[in-house]
Symmetry: C2
């Protein structure tokens, strides 16, 4: 799946984020940042990186949160009860398949929303999320 990022490519990524390159983080980052955009849940990433024995689920959660805080990942909330982590940190939107739980990126589209002046007083816009929800035709 994709081009495996070498440890030499990963080290600067983690270093720049101020995160110590532990064996676990290198494994996670190596799988996540191979050049292709991905959407994963903690559980999926845990399994993809070897599951129990390779690392612990708590470390996956811990690392995902650290990566997110460092700006390496974005969270996507489309489904109550679980969080997706998106390796595409640029501006874009999503298609969410309610049947399969699968997420797809779509390019940012013009959203003609109200001006900043219409936001609640004392708040600033942090992000515009657009989700096209689809379902399998039955």
């Amino acid at each position: 799946m994709g081009l495996m990022a070498s440890k030499d490519d990963l080290l600067p990524v983690l270093k720049r984020a101020g995160l110590r390159p532990t064996r676990q983080r290198l494994a996670l980052a190596g799988w996540l940042f191979d050049g292709a955009n991905k959407h994963v849940t903690a559980e999926e990433l845990f399994v993809a990186c070897g599951g129990d024995g390779a690392l612990s689920l708590a470390t996956v959660y811990n690392s995902l949160n650290k990566f997110t805080a460092a700006g390496l990942l974005h969270q996507v909330v489309v489904d109550g009860g679980r969080v997706y982590f998106d390796t595409n940190t640029g501006v874009h939107h999503h298609i969410f398949d309610e049947t399969t739980g699968f997420l797809t990126d779509i390019p940012p589209m013009p959203v003609n929303f109200l001006g900043m002046s219409d936001l609640p007083a004392g708040t600033i816009l942090t992000r515009v999320d657009v989700v096209l929800r689809v379902r399998a035709v039955k």
Copy 2:
């Protein structure tokens, strides 16, 4: 808060939805469908309707799901780990304040997304969610 719906107004609402008008459902519907649009979590609704003693939290969840299945409510997912229920079932979008957890309705805005032909094969569009995420200026 708002004009309290009378039992006579509520009965047809529940009846039309195919739901038996129990004391608990009348209380919940009375609070929810008073004419003003609302966003509530199960917990908030539970408290608003009297909390323990008046009904059980399980019944609130149960009823919210029934109301939603009947089309009386919409679910809004903006925050991993809890679901908001929206009494506005028409087409509209939201502003979500990440600081306070407060949700606000905004009118539907033109979203120039790709045509149906670009949706994943075998799927149909069920909804377009647009969420403006805001944060308190610090």
